[in-house]
């Protein structure tokens, strides 16, 4: 057990080191969702968005939940990128010839992605606060948001890692990534509530796990526990199923790739 922990710790710290050496890229990934979506998009649509439809005091407080979950989505889907590079330059092979538990590499990646995502979510909630968005459910609500984010993130990261192991080239990986993430965002309640969407888009959005996550995070920020709790209960169920499917599928890929 202590050997297992030693492996996971060392591998996780490697990801942390890599990130800290890429200061520019770190800043960019950290700032991008806040700057682009929350600050620009949120303020830009302030007057264009119909408050009757968003059911929120202003568009930015409506959008906060969407940006939080979008960040989880993007980090999760990109979670396998570093493994892809490791696979391509032979570093993964080097790791695989050492007497480690095969799962350590995967677990270290989960831990790293979840931690970074949680920090980013906290920053986003902080920036939203500066624009006057006060989470209705307080600290406990924020903890709940982080939990929802992690539940969603686990499945996404698993898909991303499985993809990193199965694609032939990293061009393929990034094309699939783009192809997955944009429709996931537009076909969800991130930018517009389901009620405000064209019927066919709203219909598709109902099958998007992201919609469920947003619909639970949003009342935690906007209204309060009474409205949020049923959604939170629901999203836990949806995410457990989502994660189970993702983990089951990717575990097969991992076993084939790592023996």
């Amino acid at each position: 057990m202590s050997e297992y922990w030693q492996e996971i710790h060392a591998l996780t710290m490697r990801w942390v080191r890599r990130l800290s050496r890429e200061k520019f890229s770190m800043l960019f990934t950290l700032v991008q969702p806040m700057l682009f979506w929350l600050i620009f998009f949120g303020n830009l649509f302030q007057r264009a968005a119909d408050m009757q439809i968003t059911q929120a005091p202003d568009y930015i407080s409506f959008l906060t939940a969407g940006v939080v979950v979008m960040t989880v989505l993007n980090n999760g889907l990109a979670g396998g990128v570093d493994l892809l590079f490791d696979k391509e330059n032979g570093f993964l092979e080097r790791l695989m010839t050492t007497p480690i538990h095969r799962s350590s590499v995967i677990l270290s990646r989960f831990i790293f992605v979840m931690t970074i995502t949680s920090l980013q979510v906290l920053v986003i909630i902080g920036v939203a606060f500066l624009f006057g968005v006060q989470p209705a459910t307080g600290l406990l609500g924020i903890a709940t948001i982080l939990m929802i984010g992690m539940l969603f993130g686990v499945g996404l990261t698993a898909i991303s890692m499985a993809m990193a192991f199965s694609v032939k080239s990293h061009g393929d990986f990034f094309s699939v990534l783009g192809f997955l993430s944009r429709p996931m965002i537009f076909l969800s309640s991130a930018l517009v509530p389901l009620a405000g969407m064209p019927a066919w888009m709203g219909f598709l959005a109902r099958f998007n796990p992201m919609t469920w996550a947003i619909d639970a995070v949003r009342p935690l920020i906007l209204t309060g526990w009474t409205e949020a709790l049923p959604h939170v209960g629901m999203v836990v169920v949806v995410m457990v199923i989502f994660d189970a499917l993702c983990l089951y599928g990717s575990a097969k890929v991992f076993r084939r790739a790592m023996g």
């Binding site: 050997e3 030693q6 492996e7 710790h9 060392a10 591998l11 490697r14 080191r17 890599r18 050496r21 890429e22 490791d86 330059n89 032979g90 570093f91 092979e93 080097r94 790791l95 695989m96 010839t97 050492t98 007497p99 480690i100 023996g259």
Partner: protein, 323 residues
């Protein structure tokens, strides 16, 4: 030399999606020797090596390392071996020391033990000064040295080197050869792949020539050369239309072992040059074949390679990525 087996490979076959990379390979590696897998790219050297280091599961057949099966006891095998991959498997953002520290943890060394070994290895490969710089600032030769230090960190019984000097400048190559010889002195068994004939010749105690997924021949470089039977006399004729005449005349002569026509003349394998050379010259004179050039040499590994694979290894050497 201790003749205990370090590695036993028995009827190893590996096929990927319909393509057979190695087929029915059997060989042994003795403890304490430098064993080479020599062959052109795509011959199956890397597949064989990667099976031995537990990265690939054989389609059929078995491989064992120090008596442990590479599939059933993969974890035991991994504790006994070190691996220096072909690509520079380096994380460019980590420093040299951080690479070694990471591996120290993955081999479950205590902090103190890891620190001791890391200091020793950095000294050995002369990377002490660069140890705390990010690997992206390293030259090709330095990356290779770091790779080797990484392979040695577990203090392995057997070290596997995949194309250890591919794309390196002459000085770095010689330095790497020195390391390999020194490790052998320390009692380590070394298995390496290479497609450089001189490297195989200079470094390996024994080698297997692999082509098309099969072992064509196996032995020490000296044995392989002697095994060709005799030294080689190459003639270049002024008038190439005379080649067949000379071939048929010499073929019957008892001092010639084998006579073969080449595009410009003849290759003659001879038992003893003292007897053969006068006879060759006499025949050439008598048949009025003017010689442009005579070359006499002991068999080289090139000749061994050509004799067993029917082609020169240089025919399909990959483009080297010289850094």
């Amino acid at each position: 030399m201790d003749r205990a087996f370090a590695i036993q490979v028995s009827r190893l076959t590996k096929a990927y999606d319909g393509h057979t990379a190695v087929s029915d390979l059997s060989f042994e590696v003795y403890a304490g020797e430098i064993f080479g897998l020599l062959g052109p790219n795509g011959a199956g050297k890397s597949t064989t090596l990667r099976t031995l280091i537990t990265l690939l599961t054989p389609t059929s057949g078995t491989a064992s390392v120090l008596g442990h099966d590479t599939v059933r006891e993969a974890d035991v095998v991994r504790r006994l071996i070190g691996y220096v991959p072909q690509e520079r498997a380096i994380d460019r953002f980590l420093t040299g020391r951080e690479h070694l520290e990471l591996l120290g943890a993955l081999y479950h060394l205590s902090k103190a033990e890891a620190a001791r070994r890391i200091a020793e290895l950095l000294k050995l490969v002369e990377l002490e000064e660069a140890a705390d710089r990010a690997a992206k600032t390293y030259s090709g030769g330095m990356k290779r040295k770091l790779d080797i230090a990484c392979g040695l960190l577990p203090d392995p019984k057997i070290l596997f080197l995949d194309e250890p000097t591919l794309g390196l400048d002459v000085q770095s190559r010689l330095r790497i050869w020195d390391y390999v010889r020194m490790l052998k002195e320390r009692g380590m068994t070394i298995v390496m792949t290479t497609n450089y004939l001189d490297e195989a010749d200079q470094l390996c105690d024994r080698l297997a020539i692999i082509d098309g997924g099969k072992i064509k021949t196996l032995g020490s470089p000296a044995e392989l050369k002697v095994g060709l039977g005799g030294d080689i006399v190459s003639l270049t004729l002024k008038d190439q239309s005379k080649i067949p005449t000379l071939v048929s005349a010499l073929t019957r002569h008892p001092a010639m072992r084998a006579v073969k026509a080449t595009p410009t003349g003849l290759d003659i394998r001879v038992e003893s040059p003292e007897k053969a050379l006068p006879a060759i010259l006499e025949f050439a004179n008598r048949l009025d074949c003017q010689l442009e050039f005579i070359e006499y040499h002991r068999p080289r590994l090139d000749d061994v390679f050509i004799a067993h694979t029917g082609r020169s290894i240089k025919d399909d050497l990959p483009k080297e990525n010289v850094e």
